[in-house]
Point group: C2
Chain length 333, copies 2
DNA sequence: GGTATATGGCAACCATTTCCGATATAGCCA
DNA sequence: TGGCTATATCGGAAATGGTTGCCATATACC
C-alpha cells in the first residue's frame, strides 16, 4: 500500500504538502496540487485511517454493541441510529455479544481502546455485573439504551416500562375485565420487573383481585408462554384478559387459548408489549394489541446524545425517557 | 486517557519495558514487572489499539458490509461469521449500506483504510457498477458472498442458484405438474437471473410448456407477488404449480391462491427459495416447501477464506459453491 | 527598499513496538 | 583475587503513517 511519503516522493514535494491537499487546505500552488493529485490517482492512494485518527485524536465513528444483532426486534433501533449518525457525519459500526456477556464486554473494550469516538450499548442484560459499572465509569463518551442501573448518572435512553404496563393494564380494566393475568419476562431483567410493577400498581389502584399464581414467567419466549398458559387452562383456570410483557409470549398465549376453544378478544382480551410483529402474513393473524416502543426515536436519541457528549465533553449526563404508545389491534378493542 | 509514557513515568522505567509486560515478553525483572503492573492498574490503563495496529500492521479484526443488516434472512449468515471469527481469534464488526450502494461503498472504503485486516461483503447488489471492480482489484484481503461478477478471479462464496432452481422445478415436474409458473426477483440481480435460468432449463429438458407470460417478476416482495398473481388469476389463468424465486413472494402467491378458492398443494403446489420462514406462529401456516440456503456454512466459509487470505497472502483466489437443499414442507409434497 | 502575501519544508507529535547497543551482574577459571 | 565471558536487564531511537505549527524563502506590490 502506498503511503503519503510515496506520494510526496513521486510529486517531488514534502509530506506536508500532500497532507494539505488531502485535507484540502490552502497554501498549495496550483501546479503542485495538480502533481500531487496525479500521484494520488496513479498509486490509487488512500490515507491510512489509523494514522490519521492517531494524529487527530478523532475517528469520526460510533461503535454499537448489541445484546444480539440477530433479532428483528432491534431493526428500527438500528435504522434510527444509522440515519442519525449518517446525518451527523459519523460512521457507525455494530457488533453483537450474542447474549453472552463475556463476549459483549470484550467488544466494549474493543471499541473503547481508541477505535471509536464513543459507543452505544443496547440491552437489558448489560445491567448485570461489575463490568457494567466499569463501563459507565470509564472516561470515553458512552450511552446506554434500555439497560439501567440505579444510583448512577450517565447518558441513558429509557422506555417508561412501568408507565406503559400501567397504561396497558388500566386499558384492560376499563374494558370491564377483572381476571387479568400477566406474563412476565425473565425477572433478572429490570424491563420485566418494571412492567410487572406497572401491572401490579394498576391492579391495586383499581382494587382488582391480584392472584400471584396468575403472574406467570415465560422469559419472553413464545413456546414457554404457550406451555405455561396451557397448563393453567388445563387446571380450569381461565382469565378474561391477559397482559403479556412482550409480544412473543403474547402469541404463545393466543395459541394456547385457541387450542382450548377460547376466543380472542371475546373471551380473553390480550395486550402485548413491544410491537414486535411477525413479518409475513400479517393479514392472516388477529393483529395484536400492544404497547409500541418508539425504537427508531430511541436510536436517534442515543446517537444524538452520544455525539453531543463527544463534541461537547462538558455536557453533563443526560437521561431521555420515552413513553410507549397503545396500539389497538384485534386482540383487544 | 493514560498513555504508555504515563505508566513508564509512574513506574520509573522506559516505555520499552512497559510494552514488554503488556505483551508479556521476557526481559523484565520481577520488581519492575510488579511496579509496572501496579501503575497500569492504578491508572486503569488500556493500550491504544490504533497506535498498536499502526505499529504492528495488524488489527486482528474483520469488517463486514451487508446490503442490509435489518433483514432476518441474514441472521444465520451473521451467526456463521461470528462463531467462526471468534474461533479463529478475530474481532468482527458489521455495517450496512441500507440497500444504498453509495453508502455501502463508503463503508467498503472505510474498512479498507487500514481499519481491518480484511473484509467480507455480502449482497447481490454489490455486483453493480464500477466500484465493485475497484473493490476486487484493491490489494487488501477480501471475500464476496453471493455477489458475482463474470471473468474475474477473487475470493467468492456462492450458492448454486441455477442448480437449485433446476432441482426445484424438476421436483414439481416429477410430481406430474405441467403448468408451472415462476415468480422471479428483481432481474438486475444475478440471483434472479440464475434461478430463472435453472427453471427454464428444467422446463426445456422436460419438454414442458414454457409460456413467457407465466414468468412474473415480483422483486422478491410478498405484496407485489400477491398483486401480480391475483391479476393473472382474475384473467382465469391458473397454474398447477409455482416455483417462487424466494420465500417472501411465495407467501404472496399462497395468499392470492387462497383468496381465489384454490387449495395448496392440492390445486397448486408451491416451492419457494431461501428457507426464509416467518418467525412466529409457524404452526398455523402451511409450512412452505423450499430450497434451503446453507447460510451459516456460507458465513463460516467466508470467514475461513478471508482469514486464509490474511494469514497467507500467497494463497490464490478461492471460490466455494454451496448446493441448496430441498426442504419438503406442506405446500408441495 | 520595505512590506505583505503566497508557498514550501522541517520537525515535533500522536501511542505504540522492536531492534540494538549499553550496562550490570554472575559465574567461571587461572 | 583479578579478569574474562555469558546472561539478564534496560533504555535509546527509529519506525508505523499521518497532521500541523512555525519558520524560511520567494514573489508581488507600493
Amino acid at each position: 500500500m502506498a503511503t503519503i511519503s510515496d506520494i510526496a516522493n513521486k510529486a517531488n514535494v514534502s509530506r506536508s504538502l500532500v497532507s494539505r491537499v488531502l485535507n484540502n487546505r490552502s497554501g498549495v500552488s496550483p501546479e503542485n496540487r495538480k502533481k500531487i493529485l496525479a500521484a494520488i490517482k496513479e498509486y490509487n492512494y488512500k490515507p491510512n485511517a489509523l494514522a490519521r485518527a492517531l494524529s487527530n485524536q478523532k475517528t469520526q465513528t460510533i461503535g454499537v454493541v448489541m445484546d444480539d444483532l440477530c433479532d428483528k426486534f432491534v431493526f428500527d433501533l438500528i435504522k434510527g441510529m444509522q440515519d442519525t449518525s449518517e446525518k451527523l457525519g459519523y460512521n457507525i459500526i455494530f457488533c453483537s455479544g450474542r447474549a453472552n456477556n463475556e463476549v459483549k464486554f470484550r467488544y466494549v473494550d474493543y471499541f473503547m481502546q481508541g477505535r471509536t469516538d464513543g459507543m452505544i450499548a443496547f440491552g437489558s442484560r448489560l445491567s448485570d455485573g461489575d463490568v457494567f459499572k466499569e463501563m459507565i465509569e470509564q472516561p470515553n463518551p458512552f450511552v446506554l439504551i434500555e439497560g439501567y442501573i440505579p444510583d448512577h448518572e450517565f447518558n441513558n435512553i429509557q422506555l417508561d416500562n412501568v408507565g406503559g404496563a400501567y397504561k396497558a393494564t388500566k386499558h384492560l380494566l376499563e374494558l370491564g375485565r377483572k381476571k387479568i393475568w400477566h406474563v412476565t419476562g425473565d425477572l433478572h431483567f429490570n424491563v420485566s420487573l418494571d412492567r410487572r410493577e406497572g401491572f401490579l400498581t394498576a391492579m391495586r389502584d383499581a382494587h382488582a383481585d391480584i392472584n400471584e399464581t396468575n403472574i406467570v414467567c415465560a422469559d419472553f419466549e413464545e413456546e414457554l408462554a404457550y406451555k405455561r398458559i396451557s397448563a393453567l387452562l388445563r387446571d380450569n383456570k381461565v382469565p378474561d384478559a391477559c397482559f403479556a410483557g412482550a409480544d412473543k409470549p403474547a402469541y404463545g398465549v393466543i395459541r394456547a387459548l385457541y387450542e382450548n376453544g377460547l376466543r380472542v378478544p371475546e373471551d380473553v382480551a390480550i395486550i402485548g408489549f413491544d410491537d414486535d410483529r411477525p413479518d409475513t402474513f400479517d393479514m392472516l393473524f388477529p393483529r395484536l394489541t400492544t404497547m409500541r416502543q418508539p425504537l427508531y426515536e430511541m436510536g436517534k436519541a442515543g446517537v444524538e446524545t452520544l455525539v453531543r457528549s463527544i463534541e461537547n465533553p462538558d455536557w453533563g449526563p443526560t437521561r431521555v425517557v420515552f413513553e410507549p404508545e397503545l396500539i389497538i389491534g384485534q386482540t383487544c378493542p
